[in-house]
């Protein structure tokens, strides 16, 4: 593996690490298996790129992507809390509807090129991405340690106890899923700016990349404090990207190009099966 591939793995690792943080929030913290992500990832990318095309500052476009993702997540939460749609189905439904919404956001064109447009990436992508990641980890570990943040975390641990303790469980779930999808949409926006294009199909595989980040991260950094938990998603995501880069070099095993999903999946299983189990929290 060459230096440029390592750099690309780090960049993609940081971007999908932010997605991983979003999935960690829903999947681990509020115990909500959320499948909105394939749609909200593209929503973030679509919002950001269409705003950049309209002349909006690329940094500002990230904020709008964040808000868009939060709204999508809130919708999933509302369907679950108030319309009694099961958590899995609520996410699938919203992601399903987002396909059409994303095409609307992209004004009917399934592929928007940003190659000739300004983006937040000028010289060194890694420094920009690193800085954004640090800010997001700081912001979200702060949010999760406020009173509301602690309520959200408590809801994930024990819903019934929270209800008896006077916590509004429904709204905490909505807030948690909204925060998670805000991060995922942010990841999508960063991805489109780093790659130089948004394609309506860019969401395919988001859930696997995000889960891999969370699960590998938990194996390598098994600590309880919340900021390390968020950081571990980033580390896990970078490891996942380096592993997939290595898998692309497995052609000496006489594998076909379409064997990639299989190799990447097996490598993740091997990492998960390695000795030294996850510390119980």
């Amino acid at each position: 593996m060459s230096l440029s591939e390592l750099v690309m793995s780090l960049e993609l690792g940081l971007i999908y690490g932010i997605v991983g943080m979003g999935i960690y929030l829903t999947f681990r913290i509020i115990d909500f298996p959320d499948l909105t992500c394939d749609g909200s990832f593209v929503l973030g990318a679509a919002i950001s790129s269409i705003l950049i095309k309209a002349g909006v500052d690329p940094f500002l476009s990230l904020i709008f992507a964040l808000i868009g993702g939060a709204l999508a997540g809130a919708l999933t939460g509302i369907l679950n809390s108030f319309f009694k749609v099961t958590d899995l189905l609520a996410g699938i439904l919203v992601a399903f509807m987002l396909y059409s919404i994303n095409l609307h956001v992209m004004q009917g064109t399934p592929n928007i090129s940003l190659l000739m447009s300004p983006t937040i990436f000028v010289t060194n992508n890694l420094i920009v991405l690193g800085a954004i990641t640090v800010i997001l980890i700081a912001a979200f570990s702060f949010l999760l340690n406020t009173d509301i943040g602690l309520s959200i975390r408590a809801v994930g641990q024990n819903k019934r106890l929270c209800m008896n303790g006077g916590v509004n469980v429904k709204w905490m779930v909505i807030l948690g899923v909204a925060m998670g999808n805000a991060l995922i949409a942010m990841g999508g926006a960063l991805f489109s700016q780093q790659q130089g294009f948004t394609d309506i199909s860019a969401g395919i595989g988001t859930i696997i990349a995000g889960f891999a980040a969370v699960i590998i991260g938990e194996r390598v950094l098994p600590f309880r404090s919340i900021w390390i938990k968020l950081l571990s998603c980033i580390v896990g995501s970078i490891i996942y990207r380096i592993v997939t880069s290595l898998a692309l070099h497995a052609e000496f095993l006489n594998l076909k190009s379409y064997d990639f999903n299989l190799i990447a999946g097996l490598l993740i299983i091997i990492i998960m099966a390695m000795p030294g189990g996850r510390r119980k929290c």
């Binding site: 396909y99 790659q195 130089g196 860019a202 997939t244 379409y258």
Partner: protein, 330 residues
Amino acid sequence: MKKLLAVVLSAALASSVSLAADVKKVYINQIVEHPALDMTAKGIRDGLKDRGFVEGENLDFVVESAQANVALAAQISTKFVAQNADVTVGIGTPSAQSLVKAAMEGKTKMVFSSITDPMGASLVKSLEGSNTNVTGMSNYVDVSPQLEMFKKVLPELKKIGFIYNPGDANSITQLKDLEKAAPNFGLEVVTQSVNRTADVPQAATRLANQTDAIFIYGDNTALAALESIVTAATKEKKPVFVADTDAVEFGPLAALGPNQYQLGIDTAEMIARILNGEDINAIPVGFPDKMELVINMDTANKLGLTLPNEVIEEAAVFIKDGKAEAVQKD
């Protein structure tokens, strides 16, 4: 064990020695496995062979599929650039876009293939040599001759149904063309969008009821469910037209379009010129230069259609009893 190691090492050494001879690297990044795209890749491989670039001798030829995963396409592109490919080939818009950046930075030369609107995808700044180390073959063909053919086959044709996936960049370009050209032939276009192959049977049934014929341009989703479109249309005794000539044998009545395999051969010619030292920035974007008419006689019989002689005479390939027969022309 030592012996085995020695064998492996010497084999590795031998292969690296043969690589050191003038071996050109042509690496293809294909967005997804799909019959038309696979045909193009095959055309490129065969075309390079015909031009003296033989795998295992003086050519290192690699095809990698991103399996519809855009992030993976980016990783494949980075790998190809790091391996110092002489020419990278992007098949499918996202794959080509992920290769373009490296080409613009002068790190590699990129030839795209089978892309309908290279300007719209920002792959090139102009169709006449772009100065960005990028050129390639578009699969764009004018829709007017096709509509003319439909009118010849079915003189009373008024309403034409069009099935497409709004998530397919190529299809959007094609729809705009169709809606522009249709009034010139007194045709009304009835569109039906589908998001996935599972939506196709319903869409086809609706269109078969409302229109005189169904037309599928190059849409990947519709072509993947072609059989269900043909079934729905045949029930209503309506013909299906396609633009992909390779698809006619699966039941549509006829196609007037470029041959995807030929598109690969044409792409190979461009690649060979670049490998032989020609300046990539001086090579303009290519378009398919000829269209081929393929007619499925089995389908014509099933629909009870008698085709006019002038259409029969133009055909390059007939499908009879499930077999393709090329017309020998002198």
